[in-house]
């Protein structure tokens, strides 16, 4: 690895971007056909997903190969860092849209439907019975939502609190792994990483059991009005990101066991660690605003 800016690295023409584009296209096409009610679409979607996995595997294999071959200099490393940082920022903004929806519902639309402010006439004309409370226990149009009414929501101080502890400790373990790597302590690196991966998957497992509990015992579903919508979309997208992050960590763990990374050169490790911290911070927002307050 050279610190010099005076030699540039430019990758050779690569087939992975176009493979990725076509893979995404197939997946989107399949999903759209599926949603329009054709089972054939599901098949296309599955094929698209497989192609996406193939693209990631191939593309990253190329990059890892180039990295091991020592083709990258400091400048490439910094480009990757900027890329990852701004990618995470874009993810933050994606979650911001859903948090925005949650705040809008809690502060504006639900109180308005209950007659607050200048919206009394809406309330009187549409659903005069409806009252404002949060967590929302009544849905404005009770008839339309008869199949998904609930009397109870997931309380903050059960599984969610335990999950908070799990995710926060996984943030610590990944940092310990980083410190071990920087001290060239390979076994420390692998064990702390393994602990992080394990905690990540435990979190996903707990989240899944919470969903099962909500669906089977509380009847609180995605279709349960705005409370169910915001609850499941926010925690669902977060859970998906945790799963992705845990898979990424697993790849990093395998690479660590294979002896990749050095004390000075380990962008892939750091990029995934940043991603893991981002997932962690989003969870704190969820815990506070979705479960607790």
């Amino acid at each position: 690895m050279s610190d010099s800016h005076s030699t540039y690295f430019i990758p050779e023409p690569s087939r992975w971007p176009i493979v990725g584009t076509v893979a995404l296209f197939i997946a989107f096409l399949g999903a759209a056909i599926m949603l329009n009610g054709s089972a054939f679409g599901t098949l296309i979607l599955g094929f698209g997903f497989a192609a996406i996995v193939y693209m990631f595997a191939g593309w990253f294999a190329d990059v890892i190969g180039e990295s091991i071959a020592g083709k990258y200099n400091k400048q490439v490393d910094v480009s990757f860092r900027w890329g990852m940082a701004w990618f995470i920022f874009s993810e933050v903004m994606f979650f911001a849209a859903f948090f925005g929806a949650l705040y809008y519902a809690r502060v504006f639309s639900v109180p308005w439907l209950a007659g607050e402010g200048a919206k009394l006439i809406t309330h009187e004309l549409l659903w005069p019975e409806f009252i404002y409370e949060w967590p929302l226990m009544v849905i404005p149009d009770l008839e339309a939502f008869a199949a998904s009414l609930y009397n109870e929501v997931i309380p903050a101080w059960g599984i969610p609190a335990i999950n908070t502890a799990i995710l926060l400790s996984s943030g610590l373990t990944v940092t310990f792994a980083h410190w071990a790597l920087k001290k060239n302590n390979r076994s420390g690196l692998c064990w702390w990483l393994a602990a992080t991966v394990l905690l990540g998957f435990i979190f996903v497992f707990m989240q899944a059991s919470e969903y099962i509990h909500a669906y089977d015992e509380l009847n609180m579903k995605l279709t349960s009005g705005i409370y169910g919508s915001t609850f499941f979309m926010l925690t669902g997208f977060h859970g998906f990101h945790v799963t992705m992050g845990a898979i990424m960590l697993l790849v990093i763990l395998i690479r660590s066991i294979m002896g990749h990374f050095s004390a000075l050169d380990h962008f892939a490790f750091e990029g995934v660690a940043w991603y893991w911290h981002f997932v962690d911070v989003v969870w704190l927002g969820l815990f506070i605003f979705v479960y607790w307050l």
Binding site: T7, P17, A97, A101, F108, S229
Partner: protein
């Protein structure tokens, strides 16, 4: 010296151009990718333009003549989506690809493979979107803003529309990340931030807007998708949601989006005016700060698109004042452009003509925007042709004219040939006259109350509509001249020098015309003297 030897090696290794279709499909070269972006944008400009021709044809006379109302609404919706996401944005990214590495003294973009994917997504995303024209229920027809509940009621086209937006968003975000990584990390030694050409500055800020706003749009359309197919209630009052919530989320993206369309145009004009005035740009630093302020403020003004939706009074007032405050940094920019030309030694080549027209006509669009920002009068203008006139002044005579100016300005650098100046001037004059015939009467139509997105109208609006349509047809046809000029220039013509224009300054003009496959294989040293004009 030993370093130079290393570069020779490197140079030889990379400068053999890949050939055949693979050169384009697998490209990791900023110039080839830039060219693909620009060609794609031009093709989409004509597809979107054809849709505009259908609209103007139907509105040529009152009554329903040629198309049924549903298809007419598909045309207005698709025209906007194609022009915004297919023409203006890709053209801006194409220029960024071609120019940023050359302007900052880099060999290429920071993440060339990502760059390839950003481009190739576009044709595939538009295959999803344009395919809806042939689907049961027709193409999207609820307006490009996709408001629920209307858009949720679309036929088979609905999921295709949503996924096309997701796909385009992925492309934009990856492109923006690339621009930021390139400018932050690939600048030549001595190319400090305050020495960056203004085009590069406007693109960093545009990239930031893209990364901050496109994911929000993705979120909004995702909620719409789950509302339709998975029973969520984000935009349904029956479940505690609110259709107006979509408008808030959409316009949180939508207003920054209009700056995504115009900021690169500001950058282009800020490069061209100094060249043909033979004077440095007036107030370089204030230009940078004004651009940044416009971008920052753009996140706090979104609800000026929704004044008539029934917001609380405090909201109406806040968004009115916030919107009007954007006129301040915009005024700074206009002032600086005029001051750049003041007492300059001006010549009027085609890029300069388009830039001049930009300054004047964009200002008209800016002023009508200021009128629309005033809440009480917006109650009258909302959803009328006045709005249509306003955003076409800022988008056509603003963004598109600046893009034309930029293409004429850098075409000799890209191709190594001068374009036909006489034909360029013809293109300019025909376009400028016809575009005003096209859009200026729409101000009057709107003030008189003609609603937008309607295929028929009261007979009192007939005259101005006919005038507008005639202008539209001339403008549409005259753009073919541009295609001819570009093709002619690519195929031959007078050899261009390295500097091309007598008054041009900046690193891109130190390279040969056309430049080598990888712009700078050895970083140039930048000093105050060699930095931006």
């Amino acid at each position: 010296m030993s370093e130079a030897v290393v570069h020779e090696d490197h140079h030889e290794h990379h400068d053999h151009k890949p050939t055949g279709i693979g050169r384009w499909l697998f490209s990791t070269n900023h110039k080839d990718i830039g060219t693909m972006y620009l060609v794609f944008a031009l093709i989409m400009f004509f597809i979107g333009g054809a849709m505009a021709m259908v609209i103007r044809l139907e509105l040529f006379q009152p009554g329903l003549q040629y198309v049924d109302p549903l298809f007419f609404n598909s045309m207005t919706t698709m025209h906007a989506l194609v022009m915004i996401f297919g023409a203006v944005m890709p053209a801006g990214v194409g220029l960024a690809n071609w120019l940023i590495p050359m302007m900052i003294g880099a060999p290429d973009m920071a993440l060339p493979r990502l760059n390839n994917m950003s481009f190739w997504i576009l044709p595939f995303a538009f295959a999803l979107l344009l395919g809806t024209l042939f689907m049961p229920g027709g193409a999207p027809n609820g307006g490009w803003t996709m408001y629920p509940p209307l858009t949720i009621q679309l036929g088979d086209a609905f999921p295709f529309l949503i996924f096309a937006v997701h796909f385009l968003g992925i492309s934009s975000i990856m492109g923006a990340i690339n621009v930021i990584a390139t400018v932050f990390n690939m600048r030549a030694p001595g190319m400090t931030f305050m020495r960056l050409p203004l085009f590069v500055w406007t693109w960093i800020i545009t990239a930031f807007l893209l990364i901050a706003s496109m994911p929000v749009l993705a979120g909004a359309v995702t909620m719409m998708l789950t509302d339709k197919f998975f029973g969520t209630s984000f935009f349904s009052a029956a479940g505690g949601g609110d259709p107006v919530m979509f408008q808030h989320i959409f316009w949180f993206f939508g207003h920054p989006e209009v700056y995504i369309l115009i900021l690169p145009a500001f950058g282009i004009v800020s490069q061209i005016l100094p060249t043909f005035s033979r004077k440095p740009l007036f107030g370089y630093e204030s230009m940078v700060y004004a651009t940044a302020s416009i971008a920052f403020l753009s996140f706090f003004v979104w609800a000026h698109h929704m004044f008539t939706v029934g917001m609380p009074l405090a909201g109406e007032l806040f968004f009115m004042y916030a919107t009007m405050s954007i006129a301040v940094p915009t005024g700074v920019k206009i002032f600086n452009w005029v001051a750049t030309m003041w007492r300059g030694s001006l010549t009027f080549e085609t890029p300069m003509l388009f830039s001049l027209a930009f300054v004047i006509l964009f200002s008209i669009g800016g002023f009508s925007g200021l009128m629309l920002a005033i809440t009480p009068v917006d109650f009258q203008y909302h959803d009328t042709y006045f709005v249509v006139a306003h955003f076409h002044y800022v988008l056509v005579t603003g963004s598109v004219f600046a893009l034309y100016a930029g293409v004429y300005y850098w075409l000799p650098k890209w191709t190594g040939h001068m374009y036909d100046e006489t034909l360029g001037k013809w293109h300019f004059w025909i376009s400028t006259i016809s575009v005003n015939v096209l859009f200026f009467p729409q101000h009057f139509l709107g003030l008189a109350g003609m609603p937008r997105r309607i295929p028929d109208y009261a007979v009192q609006f007939a005259d101005f509509n006919m005038v507008s349509s005639l202008g539209g047809f001339v403008f549409g046809v005259s753009q073919l001249l541009f295609v001819y000029i570009v093709i002619q220039c690519v195929r031959g013509g007078e050899k261009a020098t390295n500097q091309v224009w007598e008054g041009a300054h900046g690193l891109e003009w130190t390279l040969p015309s056309p430049p080598p496959f990888h712009s700078f294989t050895t970083p140039p040293k930048v000093t105050d003297a060699t930095a931006h004009s």
